[in-house]
C-alpha cells in the first residue's frame, strides 16, 4: 500500500473517531423529505455517462445528468423534450435535425466553475458531450450508439484519436515535409500491422496443414499458401485504410505542415475541432446532420450515455470525474460508497420541470392516484438514499420493514407476496396498504440458429424444415412453468411485448410454435431425417449457469421425443460470445434487451450487414429483409411502418432463424409512504417525480 494511502487511511480513522466522539450523526435533518430506495445488485460502476452501460449506471447517472430528450413518465414508450424547448424538427425527412435548448438550465453549483456557481448550458456543451463518445480515452464503450450516424463524426473520431497518439511519434516525424509525413506514417504504421497479419496467416496455415489429411492436404499447395498470405496482407491494408483513410491522413498532414513535429509532441484529442454534422446557430440553437435519415437517432438522444456534461468538470476532476458528477439533473451527489450506497440532495437550481398533466395518465393510473401531483414542479423530495443489495433477502426484509419505498419482487419471494396462479397481491400485503405494479420488459430470450452452419443453416426447404422441426419439438410453456413459475411471456417474433410489431396475443401464424410433436415429425420427414434417422447431434452453445444447465436438460428431453439428439455445451460468457462471433456455434442460447423502445432495434438483429461479429449472431441474410430494414430506418411511427415490422417479423419466423422468444415480467411492490410511483425500466429519470408521505411510515 503506498505511504500516501496509509496516511489517508490513518487520517480517515482519526476523523471517524473524532466524529464519533462528538456525537455527530449522519442522516437527514428534521423536516426534510427523505426517500430510501434500493438498487438491486451492486449498483453503478461509474457516474460518468460515457463510461456507463448497465442499468445501474443509468439509474445513478439519470439523477445527476440529463439528456436532450427523455421518456414520458406517464407513457414511457414515448419521448418528450427534457433539455429542449420542444421536440427536434426536421424538414428533409430526418437527415437534418434542429434543436433549441431551454434557456434556463444550469449545471450544478460546483468547485469546477468560477466562484463555484454552475453556468448555463449551451449548444457547445451538447457537442462536447457527444464528442466524448468518440474519445478512445473512455474506451469507446458507447461509441456504437453514434457510429456511422452523424456526418463527419467517424472521421473526427479517427483523426482526433490519431492526434492523441502522435506525441509518441514526434521523434521520427521531425524533419519531414508533408508528403514525407504521409508516406512515413503509412510505412511506420502499416508495415508492422501487415507483418503481424502475415505471421498470423502463416501460423493458421501451418496449424490447418497439421490437421489436414487426404484430399484436403492435396489442396494445400505452395500456391494456395501464397494466396492466403496475400489475402491476409490485402485485408490488413483494407483494415488500415478504414482506420486511417486518405482523407484523415490529409487532415493530419496539413496540420503537420502548418505546425510541425514539435507541435505534435503535445497533440491531444481536440474537442474544439469541427464535426461536419454539428452546426451551432446560437448558444441555444443548433443543428445535427446525419449521414442518412435514421429515426432511432431521437431515441439515442434520450439514452443516458448522451447526457450533457460540463467540460470544466471533466477537466477539473480528470480521472475522478466518474465519481464527481456535475450535470443539470434534479439531484446533486452527496456520497457514493461503491457497492454500498449512494445519496443525493435536491438540486436547488433545477430548471422548471413539471409533473405530468392529468390528461396524460391512463384511467388505471388515475385509479392508482398517480395524477395527484399533476402540474406541480419537481422534484418533491429533498434527499434520495439508495442502498445496493447484492442478495435479495436483505432487500426484501428491508422493504417489509418499511425502510425502502419500493422493491422489485425477487423470483424467490414471488409467492410470498402474490398468488401464484392469479398473480393477485396477498391479503397480508393489501392490509399494509402495499401497492403492486408490473411491467413487461423488452426482452428477447431465444435459442438461435447459425444460418451459415452446414447442418442447421441455409434457406432451402429442407434446411428450413429441420429448424422448424426443432422449434415445434421444444415446449417453451413447459420451460416457463417449470423454471419461472409461468411468469415469463412466451411470444412469437423478435419484437418484445409492448412495442409495435408485437403480434396480437403474442402469436403469429408464421411461427413454428411448440409443442407440436406431429408437426415436428412431419418437418423431419421433409428435412430428409424421418424419425430423426441420420440426423447428427445438434450442438447447442450457451452460457454456464445453474438455470441454463437445467433448462438445457429439459430441452434435451423434449427433443429426444422426436429422436433429435441435443448436445448442450456450456461456456463462460466471453467464450460464448467469441464462439458465436466466429460463427462456430450451430445453435446458441442468448438474450437481448432492447436498447430503445422501438421494434427496429430487435429487427436489426437479423439485418444482413450486421452479421457476426455484429449483432446479427444468426448470420441471417435475406435481400428482401435487408431492403425493408433500410426502409424502416428512416420511418417514424405509422401504420405503414408497423405493417412492415410485421412482415419482417414473419419473414424471420417463417425461416425459423431461432426458437423463442420469451420476455420477463417484472413485479414491484410499493410501500404506502412512497407516492407517485410507477416504476419503469425504460429510463431512470423518473425518481424526481416521486414524493414521500412520512405520516404513512410505520
Amino acid at each position: 500500500m503506498p505511504i500516501s494511502t496509509i496516511r489517508r487511511t490513518c487520517l480517515a480513522a482519526v476523523l471517524a473517531g473524532a466524529a464519533m466522539l462528538s456525537g455527530t450523526a449522519d442522516g437527514a435533518d428534521e423536516g426534510l423529505k427523505v426517500m430510501q430506495l434500493p438498487i438491486r445488485t451492486d449498483g453503478p460502476k461509474s457516474l460518468d455517462p460515457v463510461e456507463g452501460s448497465t442499468t445501474y449506471d443509468n439509474m445513478a447517472c439519470a439523477q445527476f445528468y440529463e439528456t436532450l430528450l427523455t421518456n414520458k413518465y406517464a407513457s414511457p414508450m414515448e419521448m418528450e423534450p427534457l433539455l429542449l424547448t420542444e421536440m427536434p424538427t426536421t424538414e428533409d425527412g430526418g437527415t437534418t435535425w434542429h434543436f433549441t435548448l431551454k434557456d434556463n438550465v444550469f449545471f450544478h453549483d460546483n468547485a469546477c466553475f468560477p466562484g463555484g456557481k454552475g453556468r448555463k448550458i449551451t449548444a457547445d456543451d451538447v457537442f462536447y458531450s457527444l464528442k466524448r463518445l468518440a474519445d478512445d480515452e473512455y474506451k469507446l464503450e458507447n461509441w456504437w450508439l453514434l457510429d456511422h450516424t452523424i456526418a463527419g463524426f467517424n472521421s473526427f473520431k479517427r483523426v482526433q484519436n490519431w492526434r492523441r497518439s502522435m506525441p509518441g511519434r514526434a521523434d521520427w516525424l521531425s524533419g519531414l515535409d508533408a508528403d514525407a509525413f504521409k508516406s512515413t506514417m503509412f510505412e511506420r504504421e502499416f508495415e508492422p500491422r501487415k507483418a503481424k497479419a502475415i505471421e498470423e496467416a502463416e501460423k493458421a496455415w501451418k496449424s490447418a496443414k497439421a490437421q489436414a489429411s487426404g484430399k484436403e492436404l492435396e489442396g494445400m499447395t505452395e500456391a494456395a499458401r501464397r494466396e492466403k498470405i496475400e489475402q491476409a496482407a490485402s485485408e490488413a491494408l483494407e483494415a488500415f485504410h478504414a482506420a486511417l483513410t486518405d482523407e484523415d491522413l490529409e487532415t493530419l498532414a496539413s496540420e503537420f505542415a502548418g505546425k510541425g513535429a514539435a507541435y505534435f509532441k503535445s497533440a491531444r484529442f481536440d474537442y474544439g475541432a469541427d464535426v461536419e454534422g454539428f452546426q451551432k446557430t446560437s448558444d441555444t440553437e443548433f443543428t445535427i446532420t446525419l449521414t442518412k435519415p435514421v429515426y432511432r437517432f431521437l431515441y439515442i438522444l434520450g439514452m443516458f450515455q448522451t447526457s450533457v456534461v460540463a467540460h470544466e468538470a471533466v477537466e477539473h476532476y480528470g480521472k475522478d470525474f466518474a465519481r464527481n458528477p456535475v450535470g443539470t439533473g434534479p439531484f446533486i451527489l452527496d456520497t457514493w460508497v461503491p457497492k454500498q450506497s449512494l445519496t443525493a440532495n435536491r438540486n436547488p437550481n433545477y430548471h422548471p420541470v413539471f409533473y405530468p398533466a392529468r390528461e396524460e395518465w391512463s384511467r388505471e393510473d388515475m385509479r392508482a392516484r398517480l395524477h395527484r401531483a399533476a402540474g406541480k414542479q419537481v422534484p418533491f423530495v429533498d434527499r434520495v438514499e439508495f442502498t445496493m443489495f447484492v442478495e435479495d433477502q436483505p432487500m426484501w426484509l428491508e422493504f417489509n420493514k418499511g425502510n425502502l419505498g419500493y422493491t422489485q419482487v425477487p423470483e424467490d419471494y414471488f409467492t410470498e407476496a402474490f398468488d401464484r396462479s392469479s398473480k393477485e397481491l396477498k391479503e397480508d400485503f393489501l392490509r399494509r396498504d402495499i401497492r403492486p405494479h408490473s411491467n413487461k420488459l423488452l426482452d428477447f430470450t431465444f435459442r438461435g440458429f447459425n444460418m451459415e452452419d452446414e447442418l442447421l443453416g441455409g434457406y432451402t426447404s429442407e434446411k428450413r424444415a429441420l429448424r422448424r422441426a426443432i422449434s415445434y419439438a421444444i415446449d417453451l410453456d413447459e420451460i416457463n412453468e417449470t423454471f419461472y413459475s409461468g411468469r415469463r411471456i412466451v411470444y412469437d417474433g423478435p419484437i418484445p411485448p409492448g412495442l409495435e410489431g408485437y403480434p396480437e396475443n403474442g402469436r403469429s401464424p408464421a411461427a413454428a410454435r411448440g409443442r407440436n410433436i406431429a408437426k415436428a415429425r412431419e418437418m423431419l420427414v421433409e428435412a430428409g431425417y424421418p424419425n430423426g434417422e441420420g440426423l447428427p447431434p445438434i450442438r447447442f452453445v450457451t452460457s454456464q449457469n445453474a438455470i441454463n444447465n437445467a433448462v438445457s436438460e429439459m430441452v434435451k428431453r423434449q427433443l429426444a421425443e422426436v429422436n433429435i439428439k441435443f448436445e448442450p455445451v456450456f461456456l463462460d460468457f466471453s467464450t460464448l460470445i467469441e464462439t458465436i462471433n466466429k460463427k462456430k456455434a450451430p445453435m446458441f442460447g442468448f438474450a437481448w434487451s432492447s436498447d430503445y423502445p422501438d421494434g427496429e432495434n430487435n429487427l436489426a438483429l437479423f439485418y444482413g450487414p450486421n452479421e457476426a461479429p455484429g449483432s446479427n449472431h444468426y448470420n441471417y441474410k435475406r435481400a428482401e429483409y435487408d431492403a425493408l430494414y433500410e426502409q424502416i430506418l428512416t420511418m417514424g411511427p405509422s401504420e405503414e411502418r408497423t405493417a412492415i415490422y410485421a412482415r419482417m417479423r414473419d419473414m424471420v419466423l417463417d425461416d425459423c432463424a431461432y426458437v423463442g422468444g420469451m420476455a420477463r415480467e417484472r413485479f414491484y411492490l410499493m410501500n404506502p409512504w412512497l407516492l407517485n410511483c410507477k416504476p419503469t425500466e425504460r429510463y431512470y429519470g423518473w425518481f424526481k417525480y416521486l414524493d414521500v408521505d412520512d405520516s404513512k411510515r410505520e
Binding site: I6, S53, K139, Q340, S341, N403
Partner: protein, 325 residues
C-alpha cells in the same frame, strides 16, 4: 531469529513467484478484456484496453511489470469495474472486514479453547458428549442457513417484535464514506454484532472439535498425571500446564485463520452489506475486474506466506523446545 526469518523469506520467494505466474496464466486462459467489455465491444475497443493494460505485450513482460508493481507496492492501477485505484479499494475494504473478523477470531478462539478444555477434561461423560453433539450439529449446517435464518430472526423478526432492537438487516447509507464507520461502538452493535455472532456459531463447531482433540491428547500425557499426583488443582492443570503445552497446535490454528481476518467473510459481508474485502473480491470476480482480482490474489498469497513464517517464529517464542535453525 532474524537470520531464520530472512532465510525463510528467501526460501518462499520462488514459491511466491510461482504462485504469481500461475495466477497470471490462469487469468489469461480466457481473454479477460473481451470478458469484461461484453457483447457490444468491437475489436478496436478490445485492442485499446489491452494496450492500456499492457496485455498486448508478451506474458513474460507482463509478469515482470506486475512483479515490479508488487515489489514497489504500487497498486495505483485502477479497477476496470469501479475506476478506483486498487490501493484505495484495499484501504477502504480492510477496516470493515476487520470489524467483523477480528472479534470473530478472538471470541471463537476463546470459547472454543475453553469448551475444548472442559470437554477434554470430562472426556466420555455427558458434558463432553453433549458439547460434541452440538459441535457436530453446528458443523453440519451450511453457513448460508445460519446467515439467512440469523438475518431473518435476529434482525428482521426481532426488530418487529422488540422496540429499539439494535441489530439491522443491512448497512444502509448511514454508513457514509468512512471505512472506519464500523468501529464506532453503536455502529458496531447495529451492523456488526449479529454477523459476528453468526460467524462465531459457524466456526465454533470446527474449532471446538479441533481444540478438544488437542486437549485430549495433552491430557493423556505423563506430565498431567504428575501434576495431578502432586496435588495441582484442576483449574491449574487445565489453564497453566495443559494450555501452555497445547500452544503449538493452538497457534497453528489461529495463524491459519489470520489471513482470513484481512480477506473477510464473503457471504456474511454480502448479506449484511458490509463493504469488506470478501465482498470486494467477489464483486470483482463477478464483474471480471481483472486488475483487482490479480492484485488481491497476489496479496493474499503473500499474506499466507507471511503468516506461515510468523507461525514458525511464534512456535519458538511459546515453546522453548523449538529452536529456529
Amino acid at each position: 531469529m532474524w537470520n531464520y526469518i530472512v532465510r525463510r523469506t528467501l526460501y518462499n520467494i520462488p514459491v511466491f513467484l510461482a504462485i504469481v505466474l500461475v495466477l497470471m496464466i490462469a487469468l489469461r486462459v480466457n481473454d479477460p478484456v473481451s470478458a469484461q467489455l461484453g457483447k457490444n465491444a468491437g475489436p478496436e475497443q478490445i485492442a485499446l484496453l489491452k494496450h492500456d493494460m499492457g496485455m498486448d505485450k508478451p506474458l513474460i513482460v507482463q509478469y515482470g511489470m506486475f512483479l515490479k508493481k508488487l515489489v514497489t507496492l504500487d497498486f495505483s492501477e485502477r479497477s476496470w469495474d469501479q475506476g478506483f485505484p486498487v490501493s484505495e479499494m484495499i484501504a477502504n475494504a480492510v477496516p470493515p472486514s476487520m470489524a467483523v473478523t477480528v472479534p470473530t477470531l478472538l471470541i471463537t478462539a476463546t470459547i472454543a479453547i475453553c469448551v475444548g478444555l472442559v470437554s477434554a477434561f470430562n472426556r466420555g461423560r455427558f458434558t463432553d458428549r453433549m458439547l460434541m453433539f452440538l459441535a457436530v450439529i453446528g458443523m453440519s449446517i451450511s453457513v448460508l442457513v445460519y446467515i439467512i435464518i440469523g438475518q431473518y430472526f435476529g434482525a428482521f423478526k426481532m426488530g418487529e417484535l422488540v422496540d429499539g432492537w439494535p441489530f439491522q438487516v443491512t448497512v444502509n447509507s448511514d454508513a457514509g464514506e468512512s471505512p472506519w464507520f464500523f468501529f464506532g461502538p453503536s455502529n458496531w452493535l447495529r451492523y456488526c454484532m449479529l454477523p459476528v455472532m453468526i460467524n462465531v456459531v459457524v466456526a465454533l463447531g470446527y474449532d471446538t472439535r479441533f481444540y478438544r482433540a488437542v486437549m485430549v491428547e495433552e491430557s493423556q500425557k505423563d506430565y498431567i498425571r504428575t501434576a495431578r499426583a502432586k496435588g495441582a488443582s484442576v483449574k491449574r492443570v487445565m489453564f497453566v500446564h495443559m494450555l501452555k503445552n497445547a500452544m503449538i497446535p493452538i497457534i497453528t490454528r489461529i495463524m491459519i485463520s489470520l489471513p482470513f481476518v484481512i480477506t473477510g467473510s464473503i457471504l456474511v459481508e454480502v448479506y449484511f452489506g458490509i463493504p469488506g474485502m470478501g465482498r470486494t473480491l467477489i464483486n470483482a470476480i463477478v464483474a471480471k475486474d481483472f486488475p483487482v482480482i490479480q492484485t488481491f490474489t497476489a496479496l493474499f498469497a503473500a499474506l499466507f506466506i507471511a503468516s506461515n513464517i510468523l507461525t514458525d517464529v511464534l512456535y519458538a517464542l511459546v515453546d522453548p523446545r523449538v529452536r529456529l535453525s
